[in-house]
Amino acid sequence: MEFLTRFKNALFLILALLTQAIALAVQVRSPADPGEPDGPKVRLIRMWSMATVTPFERAAHAIGSGLHNTWSDYIDLGHVRQQNADLRQQLTRLRIEQAAIAEDALEGRRLEALLAFRQQYVASTVAAQVIGSSGSEQSRILTIDKGWRDGLKPDMAVITPDGIVGKLRDVFPTTSQVLEINDQTSGAGVILANTRIRAILRGTATGRAQIGNLTADSRIKPGEPVITSGGDQIYPRGLPVGTVESIAPDPDHQPYTAIVVRPAVELDRVGEVLVITGTQSDLPAIAQQDLSTAEAQHAADISAERLPGLQDDSDATGATPPGAPGTTPPGTAPGTTTPPGPPPAPITPRPLPALHPDRYTSGATPPASALTPGAPITSTNPQSSSPPQSKPDKPN
């Protein structure tokens, strides 16, 4: 009894540590349900704590967003015009790029069909706001304001337009936890874009994303893009992950190398995310429409490139065909445009007139029926002149 009284403080500490150590062991050892990161009791406790904290996070986020929106929407508008111009320029560039890659995309789809490969495209997403974090450097967790009431489930991929962010870990009624790709318990199947090497990306305790299952390979260079492979059944194939930042021998796992990847998304500053709630094996309708448009444009570009001289007669003389939309026909008051009439007759392609006609120019030679054997050829084309005759060289 005296022992207990004398060492009650130390005994209490030992008891507290022992209890928590046993709880840790139970959590680590107990098998959780498939798709659930925690056991049901732990999950319940986490849900209660999240329910307690979430209202404060929402309030803080609402206040912060309100202040930010007031500033950016009504006060700080100086850069909007320049931003608009930049965006238009970017849109133009992206349209050109889209047309350029349309053919590659079609070729890829044909090959996939040939190999019976089932590509997974993003079919539906849910937009969410990041409202909180774990508050610990050992745990790279984000809290978003959407939960299972919005159709979210554990292990759904979370992305931004820049690249992948992570996947859903715990999903509660109105909130969810996102496990970032740089968390030490996170993992993703990736491909090094240039070398086409498949690898597994894992987070580290220091918050870095790292590939650690590859041996030294001189082809892998810093700056190489990294994309998702789709092999993990979480992230659809082809999404940007980041770029290779450094390559060094892994001291913990020889002879493997530690390839540090700089995430494409600024994980510390991400504010809005998209949760991929559904994928499909066909392209979404909008994407198919875009692809068709790009394909048509691409085909037209190829025709124009390969047949530069084929055009309408009116074009050849520099005149606009009558009846074309947006033109003013003769006898019409200026400033008025003709309504779109019936479609014009099909244009018969004809070559442009030659700048320097000769006997080989189209139309310069009379039909064979009009020729007399032995007689000199006379040109039938009034526009064409006689072929240049070379003068006989006279001796000096």
Binding site: L24, Q27, M50, A60, G135, S136, E137
Partner: protein, 174 residues
């Protein structure tokens, strides 16, 4: 500058806090810890729950109370992470116990002592977390970055001083 820091043993044992303060301050610290890194990612190096744990432990001067306070704050912190529940709980239980045990031996009202104590205990917590993660949970890839942990200790030391001074106003000395 003369700092009057002597208190009798009776006064030492009678230091306490009202229930709202004892509940609200740790919860506020955890909330701020969750929210601040969202606004400024570099603030993730702060550990407000640790500072509050240390303050309550050295103020109450009861190892059992320190252990309970540290355990509760640490467990609450664990609930918001993806780590097994108990990692921070164990570390902060030890911090609370040692802090409370030490407070009856040294003058914890002095600013210099407080700064040094926060610095040392921050490093102690980093070591405890390393041992729990590496040895108890068997996470092989968990490494301690000493420079980063030193920086964390320094930052926490400077942040803890004004927090301690503020929270001193809520002490009850009967």
């Amino acid at each position: 500058m003369v700092t009057r820091s002597y208190m009798s043993r009776r006064e030492v044992e009678q230091q306490s806090f009202s229930i709202p303060v004892a509940v609200f301050v740790p919860v506020a610290a955890i909330l701020l810890q969750v929210l601040l890194p969202r606004m400024m990612p570099r603030l993730a190096i702060l550990d407000l729950p640790f500072i509050v744990t240390l303050f309550f432990a050295v103020s109450r001067r009861s190892p059992i109370a320190g252990t309970v306070t540290g355990g509760c704050i640490g467990l609450l912190q664990d609930l918001l992470t993806n780590q097994p529940i108990g990692v921070n709980g164990m570390a902060k239980s030890v911090i609370g116990y040692v802090g409370a045990s030490l407070s009856s031996q040294i003058d914890v009202e002095n600013i210099g002592t407080r700064a040094l104590m926060t610095f040392v205990f921050s490093l102690l917590q980093s070591i405890l977390l390393y041992l729990i993660e590496r040895r108890l949970l068997g996470i092989a890839g968990f490494h301690l970055q000493w420079l980063h942990e030193l920086l964390r200790a320094v930052v926490n030391m400077f942040v803890a001083l004004p927090i301690f001074l503020t929270l001193d106003h809520f002490k009850h000395r009967e």
